[in-house]
Every structure is written in C-alpha cells, then in structure tokens.
Symmetry: C2
Subunit: 397 residues, 2 copies
C-alpha cells in the first residue's frame, strides 16, 4: 500500500493546516484505553506505525508526516494524541484512536525535537533553523511564545529541551554555550533565566527522574554541565571534566543522546563521547564512580524503569549490537544482536519488555528483559524512534 | 438520582456475574484517551465517581459496587478498566469509557485490596476472610491461583500486597508474622517463597519505586521489616527497631497506610505508629536520619512524584488537616484544612496538583502543589480513595 501525503499549501512560516491522516484499519472501540499504545517512526516514508504493547502488534500506519529522519514524539495528557516533531520543522498532532492527523504546522526550517509542559497545555519545539524554541498551545497549536535564543546577534541551535515542574522548559544553546530556563507559568509573560559558564558545545541534555538536576553533555570538551534546579538561584557547574584524559579520542560517528532516563537508583549512566565506555556517576556527589567498557561508542544509555538494568546501543560500525549492564555488579551481562542498525530502544511502562528498532532490517523486536527471549518481531519500514504513551505521565519525556 | 444495584444471584463462593453498570452521562468520544481519567470511591453508596484530571470535572457515577467502605482500585494495562476491591470481598471490573461494569465476582468474605501484575495479565486480591490471596485472569476474572496463607493450620489475614517484577506478588501475613512472595511467571505452577523472622503483626507494606525493597510496617512493635528483593536469597531484617523508645505510645486511632510511594530521592518517609511523627530513613543504610513532628498520627505519607514534597494526612481527631513537608529543609512548610475527614490524597501523574478527599464534607479538592491554591472542588458523596489511571504504568500501585 503506497501512501502519498504531500504537504501542500503549508508555508514555511508558521501556519496551521488541518490535513487528513491515513487510517489504515478500523478505529478502536470506545471501550479500549490508550495506556498501552505507542508509535514507531517510519523514517524513510514519513509515516507513524501505531502499535499496541499488550498484544505486541502493529495496529495501523498513519502517513503524511513529512521528513521524519530525526523525528521525536511527545504525548498529550490523555494519551490520545501524539505530537510529532519532524526534522523538516513540522509539528504534527495525530490522534491515535481515530488514527488521523488533527493539526499540522510548519514551525521552523529544521527541528530537532520537543517537549510537553507538566500540565499538558503547552508543547515546545527546539529548532536548528532558525534556532530557538517555539511554544504552542497543545489544543490549538497557536503560537504562545517565540524564544529566538539570540546571543551576540546570532540565533543558536537549541538542543536538550526538557519540561520542568511549573510549566517551565529547560534547553541548551549549542552555538552559544549556555543553558536557558523558560518559565511559562504565565504564558503571556514568559520569563527567561540564562546560565553561562557551562562549557563548550552542549549537544543534548536530560532531566533526572525527580526533576531536580539537568545535565548537558558537551561535544567541545570531555565533561558535562550540571544544574541543580532546586537551588534558589540555579547555576551550571562542570562535572566529569577531562574524563577522556590520557586516551586518544576516536572520531565520533554519531552524537550520543541523553534523552530518556539513564538514572538508575542513585547513579547516572552516561555515554563517553568518542570512547567505548559508559560513565557511572554518583548523583549525590556527582563524582565518577566507575566506567564500564562496552562494545562501541554508546548512543542511547537507558535504564529499565526499575533501574536494575541499563541498556546501551552503539554508533557505526557497532550498531547491530545492544548490551545490557547489570547495575548491581556493573557488568555487561548480555550482548544481543536484534538486527541491523539499531536506532532506538523503549521500555514498556513497567519494564517487563523492551522494544528495539533495527532500521536496516525493517524490524522492531520485543524482548523480555528478564530472560532476554524475543517475544515478538514486527515488520515496520525503516523504524527509528519508539515512543509509548506512558511518557505522558513522566517528567523529562 | 437514586441508584439501586443489588448484587442478586451472586453466591459467596467465587462465581462470575455480569451486571449492568450505571452510565449516568454519554460515553466518551472514541478520540479521547484514558491517560487523564481517574476514579473516586463514594464509600457510603457503593458508587465510583469517574473524574478527569485535565478538566478537573466529575464525568459520571457508576453504581452497583457493593460495600466500598475500605475499597481500593488497580487499573488495566490500557487504562480503560478499573478493578475495584470491595470490603465485602467483591472484585468488580468497570470500563471507564463505556462506564459500565464488565465483570463482577464475590471472591472472599472480607477483602482489603489488591494488585495487578507487571504485564497486566493477573489481578490479585488480599483477603481478611477467609484470609490468603486469590489471583485472577485480568481478562476473564477466572481463578488462576488460590493461596490460602495457612500457617499452623490457621489462615492468616493478608495485608501489604504488591506487584513485583516478573509477575510476582509480595504480601504480609498479619496473623502469622511472615512475608510471602508468590511467583506466577508460570501461572499453572505458582511458586511461593516464605520469609519468617520479620517481627510482630505486619499491618501494611510498600515496594520502593525501583521494585528493589519491600517494607512492612509492624503493628505489634516499634519497627519495620525490610526485604532486599535483589538478593539472591531474599530475607527479612528489622529496621528502625524501637523507634518509640522512651515515649509513651498513644492509642492508635487508625492504622496507617504504607501504600503509595513514600520514597523521595534516597529517603523513605514513614508514619510512626502511635506518635505524631514522620520517620525519615536513608534507603542506602536503612538508618533513621531524622524525624519530623507533625500535627497528628500520620495515616498516608506520600511523596509528590518528583520527591520535593511529602504530603501527610492524619487519624482522628486531626483528620481535617493535611501537612506538606519540604524534603530539602525537612520542615513542614504548609498546613492545609481542605475539609472534614480527609481520607486520601492522589497526585496527578506529573505532580502539578493533588486531589484530596474530605469524606464528611462530600468534597474532593484539587490543589496546586506549587502555590497551594485550590484549583477546583468537586462535590462527591462521602469520598474516600482517589485513584488515577497513571497507576497502571507504575510498580507497586
């Protein structure tokens, strides 16, 4: 079944357009909930695959989403709508029950993801071109705030955007070596707090599960920036400075991601850029307590919801492998090869299974995290990101 | 509108009966998700109030649930169904979208709550009469396992039932001073592990958010029992033994509850039975690190999802008050009086608000946890427990 959903009549400047989605199958019965739904990005054809994590099945494909080559997704508070941030700057809202696009907007020229506010009323997009952050009303997609991220007359690319308690957003300015906090508790008067001295070239960021700490990875140096958001006047400080000292850094094949919670118990597990290592950091002292040798340059380092395991995937040429770290012994306890070009992993809400996308095998594997048995494989075209609706109830997702 | 839903034709022995529920309003549109739904127990008339946490409204009332005087609720994996454990031993499944009872079973003579397995396929009830635990298939409510909890020829009352990873359940035997773990990963062959030496009269239990530790409160002595479930051979040990030493215990007006996560960051906040105190315990050493004076005998001690605050309600005669502890300063930062006979509190999934039931004012208050402003009040008949569907995605709920 070939799909053609051209984004006609939508200007490059922000403009709201309502386009029909593609409902490939019958909609759900009204008696079926949204708690076990999810979407997989089919990156090469601009399509969302709608999946169910209870039946482990593909329910439908919804097309017409444009360039999804680095797309990410957040969910509405009720779990029924997915907000899809396309690489081409499109923001699309898809209803997972009717399986249709309910709103679509070209909000930038090049976008790299987004976030949804604590109360679910605001959706924010982080942009490369023209840079900055735009905030939209989740119901209408009307523009609420435009935050250009201008420093010394130049708009910075924005990365590491995350929600914070109190309808605030935090993000990093790749080109301006800064971390900004935008408080939209009064949406008519956003208040921006700007933190400098964070180190060089923040490339991504995460908020710890408790919403207390923001960590930005640095591309321009060995180290990370840390902000304690519970301080009365939050400021950035450097942690793990010079973690690669004495080693020859490798060429970096793919920028790691700090998205997802890589905090397990009191320790954070972080990718070492340009090294075949995962760094273990004590979140009470923020000192390195261990480093774990892994099979390649880590991309995603994600804790199972209970924190007993951390799963790692890798950049080229090691991206057919996934490794599992046991957080008690701090050993790699399993190496899996679920398929070619593993791009993403997503745990089911309570962590009994993980869904792994293997782009070049057009496969998503569902793996039991206790016994490492493959429970199901789904044929999905060039799958990249996997996102479950349970994210709606969590901070930093 | 008076409701009459008599439980006719249902024997005291397990028997499945399909009864019509009471849909007071039109069902939801198919395009609305279940992520922001919840229920409030209307204890005096056997009715569930269906609420929406985005609009902060009462959507419907669903009657015919029997004796809900100490009822609790778990949710199906998709968030569409509530499993209601009635004090009278009834287990009722209610679909929140169609607003109807879809299955109902008298599974015991006196029941005190239940749990749902990690993968959502099994529902377990803990019973006072005849004691023990019964496990049911979540889809059919067919009996899967009957665990009588017999010790020395006597069936013990069961409390503190919680799900554990791997389709296991853990629970405490009030009359037999024991903690049992039932492994139903092979549902045809449940495997029971029995732990003794836990102390006297466990009255409730909780699993930490990471699923690692089980804590049972003890009614028969000052102290708690702790099990590290990540040990190869888990065993119980005593913590906080003699926490009331040198103090005259007060009469206990209401048994505290350990349900809900009272773990914030690396500390657990626990009610001191018979004292006007909350105990603070370091979860790495399991030593007491502080005790906080509060306005009465604590009943629920619940951490906001981010752990920055802990909210406490109280037994008679102080049950018109709620206190808020700031976990950084460990001070009571606010005392609220939301209504008479506060019985329960439930945080919205990401913690921006808390819903508090005041039974004797027939009121549920929705309070902003940042500024302590009352955002809404709902008129609900004799409200007790408040339960949101986001529990489906969390361990220990």
């Amino acid at each position: 079944m070939k799909r053609r959903h051209l984004l006609t009549g939508v200007a490059a400047t922000p403009a709201l357009a309502l386009l029909p989605g593609c409902a490939a199958f019958a909609p759900n019965e009204a008696s079926v909930g949204t708690g076990d739904l999810g979407v997989v990005i089919e990156r090469s054809r601009g399509t969302l695959a709608l999946v169910n994590t209870s039946s482990r099945t593909l329910l439908a494909e919804i097309g017409g989403l444009g360039d999804l080559s680095h797309a990410s997704v957040v969910f509405s508070r009720d779990g029924a709508s997915a907000f899809v941030f396309g690489r081409d700057g499109a923001l699309t809202r898809v209803n997972l029950l009717t399986r249709r696009i309910t709103a679509r907007l070209m909000q930038a020229g090049n976008s790299i993801g987004g976030a949804i506010s604590q109360d679910g009323t605001l959706v924010a997009a982080q942009n490369y071109t023209p840079g900055g952050v735009k905030v939209f009303d989740a119901n209408t997609l009307a523009l609420v705030a435009d935050i250009p991220a201008m420093v010394d007359g130049k708009a910075s690319r924005v990365v590491g955007l995350s929600d914070l308690p109190g309808n605030r957003f935090i993000f990093s300015l790749f080109d301006a070596d800064a971390i900004w906090i935008a408080d939209l508790s009064d949406r008519a008067k956003p208040v921006i707090t700007k933190l400098g001295g964070i180190g060089h070239q923040p490339y991504d960021g995460l908020v710890t599960p408790d919403g207390r700490h923001y960590i930005a990875g640095l591309f321009g140096e060995d180290g990370l920036a840390l902000v304690d958001l519970w301080d009365d006047a939050p400021k950035a400080r450097r942690i793990l400075a010079g973690y690669g000292r004495g080693e020859v850094p490798l060429p970096v094949y793919k920028m790691p991601h700090l998205r997802g919670w890589s905090v397990a118990g009191r320790h954070a597990y972080l990718p070492a850029i340009g090294h075949h290592e995962v760094l273990v950091v004590d979140t009470t002292t923020w000192q390195e307590t261990a480093r774990i040798q892994v099979a390649g340059q880590p991309v995603f380092v994600i804790a199972r919801p209970d924190g007993r395991q951390v799963w790692v995937n890798f950049a080229v040429p090691d991206y057919h492998r996934v490794q599992v770290i046991d957080t008690v012994s701090r050993q790699v306890v399993r190496t899996l090869e679920p398929g070619k070009a593993v791009l993403h992993m997503e745990f089911t809400p309570r962590g009994e299974a993980v869904w792994i996308s293997s782009r070049d095998d057009n496969r998503v594997s569902v793996i039991d995290t206790q016994h490492f048995v493959t429970l199901a494989t789904l044929t999905i075209d060039s799958p990249s990101g996997v996102f479950f609706t349970s994210r709606a109830a969590r901070m930093g997702f």
